[in-house]
């Protein structure tokens, strides 16, 4: 690990100012940043500890729920408001990491965690995300876990968060404070970027911009669910995951929100599937068609060919479950 100086922030605006200096980074739970610092993939010269900022409340105002960015993943998953009104979020959080990591990982840090692409982690291999311009070893490498949607010739890494997939389906927004003291709110769909030819720039946050809260609008009508498929039963990243909120009335799908995890550089909102589903009978045929629409633009790279049919089947089955429809055998 490279030596660094350390300060503990007591004010969000001061923290943003301190972190806007070259080489400075925020640290919250540290469960991803320290892992990467040990491998010298992340090499901050200065750490701004934001864990003691007063950002640990979950509060409800005018039907919306505001989650402080320092709320640990475990407390958020267990919070009565989240369990009752946003079960897709509780389920997604509980599907991620381990009990120990959820106790440490923060809401803001979970959003900003980096990919677990093996080649990003292996400093002897080419990676445009770690070393811009060096190439992508995953394209011709062992790419079983890699992206099938929205990838580029520069990067086929996936975003590892489960929480962010649920937040995408819930149309959450992100509140921030900037180094000049101003604040702004970004829809979660505008937080993340696709890799394009700059995969090292992962979000639209500016230098020193600090996430202070995640805001959930009132939950949409309908049933919510989160399904995760992975290589072992617990404590593994998703191969494919689905967050779905589906409202069925008189046998027809009135509305649907669908987001996929483990398939793209960011949590993937499946708008094509939502449009294919809206107004259709709540039947297996409709769910199959929606899943095909979601995966129509998918492209695989050899090792991850299986992810396209896997995602279609997991999405189909998840829609049937959340719509309360008996699945065909």
């Amino acid at each position: 690990m490279i030596p660094f100086t350390y300060e503990r922030a007591t004010d969000a605006n001061d923290a943003a100012k301190a972190a806007s200096q070259p080489g400075a980074r925020f640290i919250a739970g540290g469960t991803n940043l320290l892992d990467l610092m040990k491998l010298e993939i992340e090499k901050p010269a200065h750490l701004v500890d934001i864990t003691r900022l007063p950002l640990r409340e979950v509060e409800i105002t005018n039907g919306a729920v505001r989650i402080g960015s320092q709320v640990p993943n475990s407390e958020l998953a267990a919070h009565p408001l989240i369990r009752e009104r946003y079960p897709v979020l509780s389920r997604a959080l509980l599907a991620g990491a381990s009990g120990q990591l959820r106790n440490k990982a923060s809401t803001g840090g979970n959003l900003l965690q980096r990919t677990r692409c093996y080649y990003f982690y292996d400093t002897s291999k080419a990676c445009n995300k770690r070393e811009p311009g060096s190439g992508c070893a995953a394209l011709q490498g062992f790419n079983r876990i890699h992206a099938i949607l929205g990838a580029s010739d520069s990067c086929i890494a996936v975003h590892p968060s489960d929480m962010a997939v649920a937040l995408t389906a819930l149309e959450a927004s992100i509140e921030t404070v900037l180094p000049d003291g101003s604040t702004r709110t970004l829809p979660i769909g505008e937080l993340y970027r696709l890799p394009g030819d700059t995969p090292h720039i992962e979000t639209n946050l500016r230098p020193g911009e600090l996430i202070t809260a995640v805001v959930l609008p009132a939950p949409p009508a309908g049933n919510q669910t989160y399904r995760k498929v992975r290589d072992r039963a617990s404590y593994a990243f998703a191969l494919v995951s689905v967050a779905a909120i589906v409202r069925v009335e008189a046998g027809r799908v009135r509305d649907a929100r669908i987001a996929l995890g483990g398939v793209a550089h960011k949590p993937w909102r499946a708008l094509d599937a939502e449009n294919a589903l809206r107004g259709k009978p709540a039947s297996m045929e409709s769910f199959v068609n929606a899943a095909q629409a979601a995966l129509a633009p998918a492209k695989s790279h050899g090792g991850n060919d299986f992810k396209i049919p896997l995602a279609q089947r997991v999405l189909t089955r998840t829609l049937a479950d959340v719509a309360g429809t008996e699945a065909a055998a």
Partner: protein
């Protein structure tokens, strides 16, 4: 020079010479790669007070020191084990303010004033913690390397369950009380790897103290 025997070369001199030759051989590459000495970041020390098992310890530490390394290397409290050092195995689990965390993935300087509990703070050889007795009774280990982490994790896990926290395998998210089935214990303990695969006995040990004041 003439007084010295050409054979009076000790082992240390040979090693030094060998190193010098090695450096010489690598010199062209190093001049390209190594930054000037003034640009190499120097270690930064800070003073922190850690509250461990109800005792305060004032320590001066390199900022890079993990809580795990502070416990083991600075304080000699080697009950907490280093397995992977990357948050994947759980051998380093300790309790901070009553909640279990991986001590390898957190900096000691971030824990000024926090209440830290390690395996040394749970029981003594004369007065074992109920979970320690249960692990012995149920043969919940083989090599024992993961055991301190398993026991600290189990203490934290039982508190989470008592607080009504649901898990990935909980059928009903809204249930006020957690039914700690074997499936629940396995899921909640999945952050602790046992390469001897003593899992069935670990689950049995934890189940045996459920309801006992752990």
């Amino acid at each position: 020079m003439t007084d010295e025997s050409p054979w009076s070369v000790d082992r240390r001199t040979v090693l030094k010479t060998g190193v010098a030759v090695g450096v010489m051989a690598n010199l062209p590459a190093m001049t390209n790669a190594a930054p000037p000495a003034s640009k190499i970041a120097q270690p930064v020390n800070m003073t922190v007070t850690l509250r461990i098992n109800n005792q305060s310890h004032a320590l001066t530490l390199d900022t890079r020191t993990s809580l795990l390394d502070a416990l083991r290397e600075q304080l000699g409290m080697t009950g907490t084990k280093k397995g992977c050092d990357h948050g994947q195995c759980g051998a380093c689990t300790v309790l901070v303010n009553g909640r279990r965390i991986n001590s390898c993935l957190t900096l000691a300087v971030m824990h000024d004033g926090d209440e830290i509990t390690t395996i040394e703070g749970l029981g003594t050889p004369e007065h074992l913690h109920p979970l320690q007795s249960a692990f012995i009774e149920h043969d919940g280990f083989q090599c024992g390397y993961c055991t301190a982490g398993q026991i600290c994790s189990a203490v934290g896990m039982l508190k989470e369950a008592a607080d009504g926290w649901p898990s990935h395998v909980s059928a009903n998210l809204s249930a006020a009380r957690v039914q700690l089935t074997d499936a629940e214990v396995s899921e909640r303990m999945s952050g602790n790897i046992c390469r001897c695969a003593a899992y069935p006995n670990i689950v049995a040990a934890i189940q045996s103290v459920r309801g006992v004041d752990a």
